[in-house]
Structures are given as C-alpha cells and as structure tokens.
Symmetry: C2
Subunit: 148 residues, 2 copies
DNA sequence: CCGGGCATATGGATTTGTTCTAAATTCTGG
DNA sequence: CCAGAATTTAGAACAAATCCATATGCCCGG
C-alpha cells in the first residue's frame, strides 16, 4: 500500500516524541524532515532532502531544510559529515561509527565503530571540550582493479 | 635583512628539487607557492595563499593558486583538510598526523600521529585502495570555561 | 473566543569559495 | 627561429549555503 503523502512510512507520533525528547518543537516541517531522515540510516545531502521531501508537491522551503538540518545536528539527531568540498552529508545514523569515502564516485559508507580502536587523546587547549572524534578512510578505485 | 620579494626565506634550489622529485615541473609560480607553503608546516586556505603570495605585487593568479594546490595535493606535497563547510585547508605538513578543529574560532591544530592508535581496517569494497586515514577531533570552547 | 507577541517558515536575492573558459604567455624540441 | 604543448591568466560562471524581510502559525492572557 502506498504511504500517505510525505509520511515516509514512519509513524508521526513516534517521530514527534523523538523531536520533543531532544528539545525540538515538532512543527509540520520538522516532523516531515525527521520522517524522511529516520525512515532508515542514510547519508543525504541538503539538496537530497529538499528534493525528497518536495517530490510530490512543495512542502518545505530550502531555507527551512537548511535551518532544520542545522538544528538537528545541534541537538544530536543527525551527524554532519564533511568529506567532499562540494557538499555536506547528513547522517541519520547516530550510533558510534566512522566513515569510508570513495573519491571516485563520492560514495559515503559506514564503518562500524569497533573496526577502529582509537585510543589516547590529544592534549587539549585550555577550556575546550571534545564534541566528537571521527575517523575518515579515503579510498579510490584501484587503477587496474575491478570494473566500476 | 629583508628577504627577496617572494622568496619567503626558502632556497629556490631546494624547493625546485623538491618539486621535481614529485614529478612537478618547477615553474615560476609553483616555486613561489612552494616557497610560501614549505617555509614552515602550516594550515592555510587557498585565499590565504593567494593573499600571501601577492602581498607586494601581483605574482600569481587565483586560478593558478587553485590549480597548483590541487596539483600539490595530487602529488602528495600537501594535504587537503576538510573540516569546515566554509573553506578547505591545505596542510604543508606531510608527516603522519591528525587534526583537532575548534568550531568556535575555526582553528586547526595538529595532533601527533602517535597520539591515536588506529588499528584494524574496514572491509573494503572490491577493487579499491586506501588513500589515507584521518582522525579529526572536533572541539568547542567549554561554555563556562576560560575566557575567549 | 479574540488579539498580541514570538518563534518559525518562506522565496528570492545574495554571498562566497571554487571551477570553467577562452585567450595569452611561456616553455621545449627540432 | 618555429610549431606544438603546457601553463597561466582574468573574468565569467557556478552552486552550496546564507541572509533578509515578510508572512505564517502557535501559544498565552484576557
């Protein structure tokens, strides 16, 4: 059966509560974006979110997409991943993990958090706190390797 | 004594050889950029390089700054560090190390390579090779911490 | 139920780092 | 000295992200 327009198969109530749990007022637009983002763990660009959410008809403006993504990042609902000069990725998977980025096709892949063992910590300047530690593995297709 | 215009206190011959060792034809502009970049390990933006190199008089165009930085990255002379949506950093320190980025003042700091122990490696897709693994520690000033 | 006030949303213009383009300049080999 | 290739250049073009001024919606007091 076809999901209701813009629900992305995710219960509105559950999403609403999730937002509220993070201190976010669940407006129509925010709920819709959250429904899209959390339907499954994924890496999306702001533009991708904008396109997906407005696929059937205009529901959320570009400015609001950016505002909301920033808000979600700030409140720890999604992670911003900067690997590409062109665009930022937003990762709806909040569990501890790292990333693998292929420079040839700009594909971003998750790496389970336990694959790496990051131990020790750098000497921090005075009065700063660590927000997060991320590991990025950059790869490219091997020149003579398997066909793309 | 004042250094010759645009030499940045670095011997032209040594820099030239360094470029050639990396298969780069040492043109006037490339040597100048290299002299600036390698006078000391540093993190600079493309714009910063452009400004520094043209401080006294126009010597290198913006397009060439970008072309050259990309070339240097490609040939492993400098590292591109993507931590900020606003601008890319170029790191003239090529030794194994990681980075610490303060989101409040956009300051990028080196973290010695041995501070972290990154072990294990992710399952790679077929036919890809690892270009590099980087660890980025994001920090912010602690709200009630030392004055800024 | 009504109205004031504040947070939120919006479209469009703007900004800004980067890339592109087409032409000029500089090298290289013959 | 010439032809061809590589490099450099100025400025136009581009696109992601931000800004702005306005409109909308929501909550609360009366």
């Amino acid at each position: 059966m076809k999901a209701l327009s813009g629900s992305f198969g995710l219960d509105r109530r559950a999403v609403t509560e999730r937002l509220q749990a993070h201190g976010i007022k669940p407006t129509r637009q925010r709920v819709l974006l959250a429904q899209f983002l959390f339907q499954r763990p994924q890496h999306v660009t702001a533009d991708g979110v904008f396109a997906a959410v407005n696929a059937e008809r205009d529901l959320v403006s570009k400015a609001t997409v950016y505002n909301t993504l920033h808000l979600f990042v700030q409140q720890g609902l999604v992670r911003e991943v900067l690997v590409d000069r062109e665009r930022a990725f937003y990762d709806s998977n909040t569990s501890a993990h790292h990333h693998l980025f292929c420079e040839d096709d700009s594909q971003l892949t998750d790496v389970p958090g336990d694959v790496f063992e990051v131990r020790g910590s750098p000497q921090l300047p005075d009065g700063v706190e660590v927000i997060g530690t991320e590991v990025i593995v950059r790869v490219r297709r091997r020149p003579g390797g398997a066909a793309g």
